[in-house]
């Protein structure tokens, strides 16, 4: 008997369940086919503008910095301002997300843009979030050809653009969007929920930013 069979047999024996029990199978299949929503906190259930305001507030609470701009065209200038204000080199790593590529980067003559996955030496990464979550100030990043996961973790500074109309009230709404975008039961290789910059409390429980991931997370909310 394979280990698989042995384990499943033991589980069934302990539960006193028979593999032929149709009602059990139906209960499990039903839950998978139509996932119950569960308890959704009232906190994020707000009108459009209030939801964006809550998102910004919650993100700041976890030590992200947040900036709102009106239009997507304003993003390159906001990125340049961020670099200048922190004395960072005029060079960013930026996957190849079509939403980012459509922005007028060419106007910034001195800014170097490196495409593709991030490496050891990258100091600043720029990504586009797929969804924002107002209840916790979280951003959701789907990996894909234009969205390397390494950009989310290797650079010291991570700048993330999020569209105001992509900010949802709660985590479950992101899951619904995932089903819509990729199809039921399908996922991108990596879905990162990011809530603030990296941190550790492992030495004497003192909270420090910048453990292995970015030391700083800057969110640019468009709209």
């Amino acid at each position: 008997m394979s280990a698989r069979e042995a384990i499943l047999k033991k589980v069934r024996a302990s539960l006193g369940a028979s593999p032929e029990d149709g009602a059990r199978r139906e209960a499990a299949e039903h839950r998978l086919a139509s996932p119950p929503r569960g308890i959704i906190p009232a906190r994020g259930q707000l009108g459009d503008e209030e939801r964006v305001v809550l998102f910004c507030k919650m993100a700041e609470k976890v030590s992200a910095s947040v900036q709102r701009v009106e239009r997507a065209e304003d993003v390159p200038a906001a990125v340049a301002d961020y670099l200048r204000a922190r004395n960072l080199p005029a060079s960013v790593r930026m996957g190849g997300d079509p939403r980012l590529e459509a922005m007028p980067w060419a106007r910034l003559k001195s800014l170097e843009i490196k495409n593709g996955k991030a490496g050891y030496e990258d100091e600043v990464g720029v990504s586009h979030a797929s969804v924002g979550v107002a209840e916790t100030g979280t951003i959701a990043m789907f990996s894909g050809p234009g969205n390397p996961t390494t950009v989310n973790f290797l650079p010291e500074h991570h700048i993330v653009v999020v569209d105001a109309k992509d900010i949802e009230g709660d985590l479950e709404s992101v899951m619904s969007r995932v089903r819509e975008k990729f199809g039921k039961g399908q996922m991108p290789r990596t879905l990162n929920f990011i809530t603030g910059p990296s941190r550790s409390g492992d030495i004497e429980q003192k909270l420090l930013l910048g453990a292995h991931g970015p030391r700083a997370l800057h969110l640019i909310v468009v709209g």
Binding site: P35, G38, T136, S143, T150, M187, I203, Q205, H212
Partner: protein, 478 residues
């Protein structure tokens, strides 16, 4: 790892006398409790979410075989591999095989209690493969050759001076005169040392907080980002998970995530919650080329259908130990194996046997705080009592305890004799207690009188006082 649970009492004595440890344990009391409370108070739905989290896991456990099959199917569909391991030995072999096929020399590791449970690091090292822990706390204790003393804060038993000494001892390539007096500089040093390890590793091993049957996804929850670098940089990603990590759907995972971070560290959401499904897709610029999940049983299937089934709801948040007066006093190592605190007191006897871990369920004041804070509403004190019963049934307690209880039971079942014996015994004890009415030493009660005096009884039994005063008490109530 070597099991020292049978010497829990000696371990505890050592822990109580260890000044460094006692100082560090102050951080547990100070840090975790307040942060959790604030986060919980800020979410009015917290208790409803706990109820739902419990219901979800109860449903999973009752249908575990079916969800395991559904999960496996989705992992395979997305290009990953599921390996089933009945025992720790099987799991170690499976990991070794994958590493050998990948020609691995260095393996980076995200935090995983299961790999501690199966003793993976020692095993890989003996086979010539170098495991590198990347969680800061795990990295520190690996340098020291120790094991975690807490399931989410593995190095909570250490002070920064100890960490500094270890870094100076091991990071010989760095300048001797560097300043490492603050946690900031220690963190910075670990960050740069580990960066090169991530890039050098051939295989990355992480644990899993959840396995999602709907999509074949594994989820890890971290704050540092080390678990992510561990899984996206090497060519092969191995997930180590035990059977009960399954949840049916993405929504179910979301529900439990809400109670997990709040109970663990008092955060609304941990910094990184990462959902991984299969290997990298065509066109993806990064991510692992192979994705393996090792599903470990190691005794869990035999907990199903018993009075310990509910323990399998545990999501390893650590709240029970953060609120446990016994854990506060002795720390995690005294428990003698991987899982400390109240959850360890229940789980350890299930996994390594009550003959070895019988002391743990006895190490409780039954104050009930663990159950009060457990996000999964696991009745920990009740289960500790179950273990005590089993221990007694199997005759594992020391003879004096068994005879003492037997003698007490004899009298307790015969109320008239009991009353007679106590009304004779009390005046004697009262006389012996002397003018101070206290005992500095009493035979058979040395464990108590060694640390404090035992008050002598007042002279009359409760039953006598009740008979005399009872009438007036009853009149007052009426």
């Amino acid at each position: 790892m070597q099991i020292t649970s049978p010497s829990f009492k000696e371990n505890s004595r050592g822990a109580l006398a260890d000044a460094q440890l006692q100082k560090a344990l102050g951080n547990v009391r100070a840090g975790f409790i307040d942060k959790r409370l604030k986060a919980v108070e800020a979410l009015p739905e917290f208790d409803l979410l706990r109820d739902n989290a419990r219901a979800i896991k109860d449903h999973v456990l009752a249908h575990l075989d079916l969800y395991l099959e559904a999960y496996e199917k989705k992992v395979t569909e997305s290009g990953g591999h599921v390996h089933w391991a009945e025992t720790a030995e099987d799991a170690r072999r499976i990991v070794l095989d994958i590493c050998r096929k990948a020609n691995a020399r260095t393996v980076t590791k995200g935090k995983s209690m299961i790999t501690e449970e199966i003793g993976l690091n020692d095993f890989l090292e003996a086979e010539g493969i170098r495991p590198v822990e990347t969680d800061l706390g795990e990295y520190i204790i690996q340098l020291r050759g120790e094991h975690p003393s807490h399931i989410i804060a593995p190095a909570v038993h250490l002070n920064k001076e100890q960490v500094e000494a270890d870094f100076r001892r091991v990071h010989k390539h760095l300048a001797e005169g560097r300043d490492l007096s603050e946690p900031e500089s220690l963190l910075g040093e670990a960050r740069s040392v580990l960066r090169s390890e991530y890039f050098a590793a051939d295989v990355g091993i992480t644990g899993a907080n959840f396995l999602v049957a709907e999509t074949g996804t594994s989820i890890i929850v971290t704050n540092e980002g080390n678990g992510d670098l561990t899984q996206i940089l090497p060519r092969v990603h191995i997930v180590m998970a035990s059977l009960e990590k399954i949840v049916p759907t993405l929504d179910d995972a979301s529900q439990i995530l809400r109670v997990l971070a709040r109970s663990a560290t008092g955060q609304d959401m941990s910094v990184y919650t990462t959902l991984s499904t299969g290997p990298r897709r065509p066109g993806d610029p990064d991510g692992p080329e192979e994705y393996h999940v090792v599903l470990l049983d190691n005794g869990r299937s035999s907990m199903l259908g018993t009075e310990f089934q509910e323990m399998l709801r545990c999501i390893r948040c650590g709240a029970c130990m953060n609120h446990c007066p016994v854990y506060h006093a002795v720390g995690g190592h005294a428990y003698g194996w991987v899982y400390p605190g109240p959850m360890g007191a229940v789980l350890t006897p299930s996994l390594i046997g009550v003959d070895k871990a019988g002391h743990l369920p006895n190490a409780s004041t039954f104050c009930g705080r663990c159950e009060e804070v457990c996000p999964m509403r696991i009745p920990l004190p009740k289960m500790m009592r179950h273990w005590r019963e089993r221990e007694f049934e199997r005759g594992l307690n020391p003879a004096t305890q068994r005879y003492g209880l037997g003698l007490w039971a004899f009298f307790a079942k015969r109320p008239r004799l009991y009353r007679l014996a106590s009304s004779l015994g009390i005046p004697v004890l009262s006389l012996l207690g002397g003018g101070k009415r206290r005992f500095r030493y009493l035979p058979l009660a040395g464990g108590w009188t060694k640390y404090r005096d035992l008050p002598a009884p007042e002279g009359r039994t409760f039953m006598q006082q009740w008979r005399d005063g009872g009438a007036s008490v009853r009149a007052r109530v009426a």
